[in-house]
């Protein structure tokens, strides 16, 4: 069932849970910054951070899993330029999904807010509190979010192109 057939079940579970969480975090992230300071805002920010860090753990697991069990070879219907572009796109996604929560954690530390993961596990501060650093990291988290949205859009467009227009079964390789 492996090889040219499709991704391993572990790769699929990791892909779809992080895909759902990332799409949710992007939407919640864009919405929450505009909220007036309130009980809701505190809770939403805390959840955004907690779940963002879950994505970080999933991304690391995914990188480890990829070494253990590399992605299946692409079907022969895929053209040479697509064959070169696909891994670049996937690496971009993997790196962004790693960089995004790390920048969030750094920003939070620089902003003087220590994260207590799910209210239970106090996490260390990655950097000391610092006004300038906080501003830079906030901007970085913002820019990375937009880069991530751009690459995800291309990613989904590529899947649609393959499956809806060409019926070459790319989605099935990752589908559950």
């Amino acid at each position: 069932m492996r090889g040219a057939e499709g991704y391993t079940p572990a790769a699929k579970v990791l892909h779809w849970t992080s895909a759902l969480l990332v799409l949710g975090l992007l939407a919640v992230g864009l919405w929450m910054t505009g909220l007036p300071l309130s009980r809701l805002k505190f809770v939403v920010y805390a959840c955004h951070k907690w779940i963002g860090l879950v994505v970080l753990v999933l991304a690391i697991l995914r990188l480890i899993w990829r070494r253990h069990s590399p992605p299946p070879a692409l079907p022969t219907t895929v053209t040479p330029w697509e064959r070169r572009l696909a891994p670049v796109g996937h690496w971009a996604l993997l790196l962004l999904v790693l960089a995004q929560p790390i920048s969030g954690w750094l920003m939070s530390s620089a902003g003087g807010v220590a994260v207590v993961w799910f209210g239970i596990l106090p996490l260390p501060d990655m950097v000391p509190r610092n006004q300038q650093l906080f501003a830079v990291l906030r901007e970085m988290h913002h820019l990375l979010a937009f880069a991530l949205m751009a690459v995800i859009t291309l990613h989904i467009a590529a899947v649609v192109r393959h499956d809806v227009l060409r019926h070459d079964g790319i989605l099935r390789r990752m589908w559950l």
Partner: protein, 195 residues
């Protein structure tokens, strides 16, 4: 032995017996501390959903040092509440509002020591009263000397301190978001003292 070295050793010996430096052995001394050469930070929310930090950017105080009897020394600090600052603007604004520091009505927060006791060679226990939002409550600070300069000239740093204490904000009527953010506030002061 050169005379200057002998004098330095004498002064060092005299000062080693007491916590604070003095100019060639004067019995009492007035030192100034403040935001000009120090920081006052607070930490809130331990073990709840997050722990957050802020500070006061404008405050000043005086220390009256009695070299012979440290228990006769005293400290007074005035903090300008509107100088409160979190790195997030929204939170800074919130803390200035009537539900928190109410900076229009209570522009100052003050601390006055009532008793000072030596814990060890460089640590003092300072008992005192803090007045915040018009409410006065006892508050204990533990002050540790981290550095001292013997015979510093007037206006120059003669010592560096770190003082820590904590309070419950609910005792001062600041109860908003207490279930989320927590009640206990730790305060850390790091300051130079100068004559």
């Amino acid at each position: 032995m050169p005379a200057s070295l002998a004098r330095a050793l004498l002064v060092a010996a005299a000062c080693a017996a007491s916590l604070l430096p003095s100019p060639g052995g004067a019995a009492s001394d007035h030192l100034t501390i403040g935001s000009e050469r120090g920081s006052m930070d607070f930490f809130i929310g331990d073990s709840l959903i997050f722990r957050t930090t802020g500070g006061f950017k404008s405050w000043e105080g005086t220390i009256k040092v009695d070299e012979l009897d440290i228990t006769k020394s005293s400290v007074e600090v005035v903090v300008h509440t509107s100088s409160i600052e979190m790195l997030d603007k929204q939170q800074t604004m919130m803390l200035r509002e009537p539900e928190f520091f109410d900076v229009e009505k209570f522009p100052e927060m003050t601390y006055r020591s009532t008793a000072i006791e030596r814990l060890n060679a460089d640590t003092l226990k300072v008992e005192g009263e803090i007045t915040l939002r018009g409410i006065t409550r006892p508050m204990t600070l533990e002050a540790k000397m981290i550095d001292r300069i013997l015979d510093a000239a007037p206006g120059k740093r003669t010592a560096t301190f770190r003082a820590e204490g904590s309070l419950k904000r609910s005792e001062f009527g600041m109860i908003k978001y207490i279930d989320l953010v927590g009640d206990k506030v730790d305060i850390a002061i790091h300051t130079d003292a100068w004559r």
